[in-house]
């Protein structure tokens, strides 16, 4: 009985301490008079990597803006909460952020988490900008074909990328036979693969083999052997760089010499580290931006990011930057922190210069922006072409 009381007492103690700390944190936040932006990001869990990069980018954007004097004369402050890469948490985080007097939410990095927070955004009438949620459902309700009033994004959609890469395969690489290797545990990859297939076959090509892998896989030799035996002229791998790096490396080791192509999930300095410069020769992918671009705005961002975080930024960081920057820009244009006005300003965005491209919102709250096709020269990214939509 004594032991039980002791344990209960300890647990209640923990509860109290955590409550106080948790509440304490919020109270200090509301003390200053700042413009607050909520960050609903995957900071732990399966896709924690993307969330953390996105947070880095967003924080840098806010810091940059604050150095220039902030927004509407006030400093900007980020309130970040972790949705643990879980849908229920994402909704809970969005609701929690909504209590803190924010103008809008930057988040989430993945489509599923963003979608889970949609009802909350609707309820509180708060604008949400997703940095890298690429599924069409995020901004448009498929059942009614209506645009979701409070959701925006700064990345282009899967269908667009698939179209771009299919065109690249038929027009630039001039091939007729392709193999597709996609991540079946990831709706982004699946969507991209689907879009590629549709566009490629419509242009007269054939898909000789379609294989899948699962996120976090490390061994692709068996699957690549099968693909090799089907004799494709190009292999489309619309996955994330962690697995893509390994796929390209192992493919080259197996003796596959045909080009590999992919989508913006490839965009990360880690890709070279994983795959090795040699393997990346004769590979191409489509992205929002490239750290090696000569555009001064991009270079300024890359240098600042390197200085602050001691590593090169990837696509997630760049888009996190843009999402936060766009939110602040919208507040500036709206001239007020009223979420409704900010939402209107977002919908009217035109020619916003982000580090990952210039953004103009279309009627579906999706950005109309160009894509760059990137190749590799001895491990360094080089921009091969820029495709406008």
């Amino acid at each position: 009985m004594l032991k039980c009381r002791k344990l209960t007492a300890i647990l209640i103690g923990i509860l109290l301490v955590v409550t106080m700390v948790g509440c304490g944190k919020t109270s200090t936040n509301t003390a200053k008079d700042t413009v607050k932006i909520g960050l609903n990001l995957e900071l732990s869990g399966a896709v924690a990597e993307y969330g953390q990069k996105g947070q880095n980018g967003a924080n840098l954007a806010i810091e940059d803006m604050n150095k220039k004097g902030g927004v509407l004369g006030k400093q900007v402050e980020a309130i970040a909460l972790d949705n643990k890469s879980d849908n229920a948490e994402s909704a809970s985080v969005a609701a929690s952020l909504a209590q803190k007097g924010i103008v809008g939410i930057v988040g989430c990095m993945t489509s599923g988490r963003t979608e889970a927070a949609i009802p909350v955004g609707l309820q509180y009438k708060l604008p949400m900008i997703s940095p890298t949620g690429t599924a069409s459902e995020v901004t448009v309700d498929k059942a009614t074909n209506a645009v979701r009033p409070y959701v925006f994004r700064v990345c282009f959609l899967d269908p667009f990328q698939g179209q771009v890469m299919a065109k690249f395969a038929t027009d630039e690489l001039k091939v007729k036979k392709a193999a597709v290797l996609f991540d079946s545990s990831n709706d982004y990859s699946k969507g991209l693969a689907q879009a590629f297939e549709t566009n490629f076959t419509a242009a007269g090509g054939t898909i000789v083999d379609k294989e899948a892998y699962i996120e976090k896989d490390k061994d692709f030799k068996a699957t690549l052997t099968k693909i090799k035996a089907a004799n494709p002229e190009v292999i489309f791998v619309p996955g994330y760089y962690n697995e893509v790096g390994l796929i390209v490396k192992q493919g080259r080791e197996l003796g596959i010499t045909v080009p590999f192509t992919g989508g913006d999930g490839w965009g990360s300095p880690q890709l070279v580290q994983i795959a090795g410069a040699e393997a990346l020769a004769n590979t191409f992918f489509c992205n929002h931006f490239s750290a090696s671009s000569t555009d001064p705005k991009v270079q300024a961002f890359v240098q600042a990011y390197k200085a602050k975080y001691n590593s090169e930024p990837d696509g997630f960081a760049a888009l996190g930057y843009d999402a936060a920057a766009l939110m602040m820009d919208a507040v500036q244009r709206a001239g007020s922190t009223d979420p409704a006005k900010v939402t209107e300003a977002l919908a009217a965005t035109s020619g916003f210069q982000g580090v990952a491209g210039t953004i103009t919102m279309d009627k579906n709250h999706n950005p109309v922006k160009a894509a760059v096709i990137i190749g590799f020269d001895n491990g360094k990214e080089i921009v091969k072409a820029t495709i406008k939509p």
Partner: protein
């Protein structure tokens, strides 16, 4: 006669009044918008977690079958419910019942083949089943594959949730207190002895799995109809682990312990939203420390009852006897 009337009040009228009062207070708070949506989400999560913990407790704590794939049953219920409302257009009631039944049948499918397995092997097999369910769902396009099902109408309201929690606790608690429950406890204590004493271990093991699974399915359907979107990744091993921690912390074998632990851990999890990395480390430490220092968890296999509260005030003969029997 006096004591009979007292026990009547204690065992039936007081709890009913208490429960009804709790329902009405919260319903008032929600309808009058005093309870903001953030707290509402936590409240609903608590309810769902209570159902999950109590149902897992039936399998793990009461019957001693170590199952760590509970999220698999939850996902089956969630998907079944979502398919009923979103794809087939049936009303919520149908979705709930379908989820309950299908998950229960799933429990049957798990219970029968694993009859011969004990302890660690059973645990791994259930983990395997949970993963297989997830992989299969990932590859079925009808339910959206990796993208899952989106646009699930928010049909779970406080009435449904509260009713489900109460029904779950009442049904499972009554099961435990009945001769069926005692058979399960016998299996937990010493399966071979139970078998030799004539307990139909096969029947009860499968029954425990099925009932536990069915209620997990119910929780899944409620979850789906509150959170708008479900994907296979929502129901991975980490979710099973979350539920397991609740059961372990609360005390394997104690329903009220599980309820308390579910409430406690859900709130802690919400409060730790700002402390990203530390949360999982804390959970893991809680598990290890509880197992080493106090493996029976908070409540052991005692139940929180009005008798227990009465112990603090006075001891009467009947209470003492009742306590001895339920210990």
């Amino acid at each position: 006669m006096e004591s009979f009337k007292n026990s009547r009040i204690k065992n039936i009228i007081l709890p009913v009044v208490g429960v009804a009062a709790l329902y009405m207070i919260v319903q008032f708070l929600i309808s009058s918008e005093l309870l903001n949506p953030y707290y509402q989400i936590i409240l609903f999560l608590i309810g769902i977690n209570i159902i999950l913990a109590v149902s897992l407790n039936l399998i793990n704590g009461i019957t001693g079958q170590f199952s760590i794939g509970h999220a698999g049953f939850m996902s089956v219920g969630a998907y079944m419910g979502a398919v009923c409302t979103v794809k087939l257009g049936y009303p919520f009631v149908v979705a709930i019942i379908a989820a309950f039944l299908v998950a229960g049948i799933m429990g049957l499918f798990i219970g029968v083949p694993t009859l011969r397995l004990r302890g660690d092997y059973l645990a791994i097999a259930t983990l395997g089943f949970g993963e297989i369910v997830r992989v299969v769902l990932l590859n079925i396009d009808y339910v959206g594959g990796a993208a899952g099902i989106i646009g699930i109408p928010q049909l779970t309201n406080w009435a449904w949730l509260f009713g489900s929690v109460v029904i779950t606790i009442v049904v499972i608690q009554n099961f435990i207190r009945s001769s069926h429950g005692r058979a399960c406890i016998a299996i937990r204590e010493d399966e071979l002895a139970a078998e030799l004493m004539g307990v139909n271990t096969t029947l009860y093991k499968v029954l425990a799995f099925s009932i536990g699974a069915a209620f997990a399915g119910l929780a899944g359907a409620l979850y789906a109809h509150y959170f708008f979107l479900i994907q296979p990744t929502n129901f991975n091993f980490l979710k099973s682990f979350d539920i397991l921690v609740m059961v372990v912390l609360g005390g394997m074998g104690s329903t009220s312990g599980c309820v308390l632990a579910a409430i406690f851990l859900t709130i802690i999890s919400a409060l730790l939203q700002s402390f990203t990395e530390v949360r999982m480390i804390l959970y893991a430490l809680v598990l290890i420390i509880v197992m080493i220092r106090r493996p029976q968890g908070l409540m052991g296999n005692k139940e929180l009852s009005l008798n227990l509260l009465g112990k603090f005030r006075r001891r009467d003969k009947h209470a003492a006897v009742r306590d001895k029997v339920t210990e």
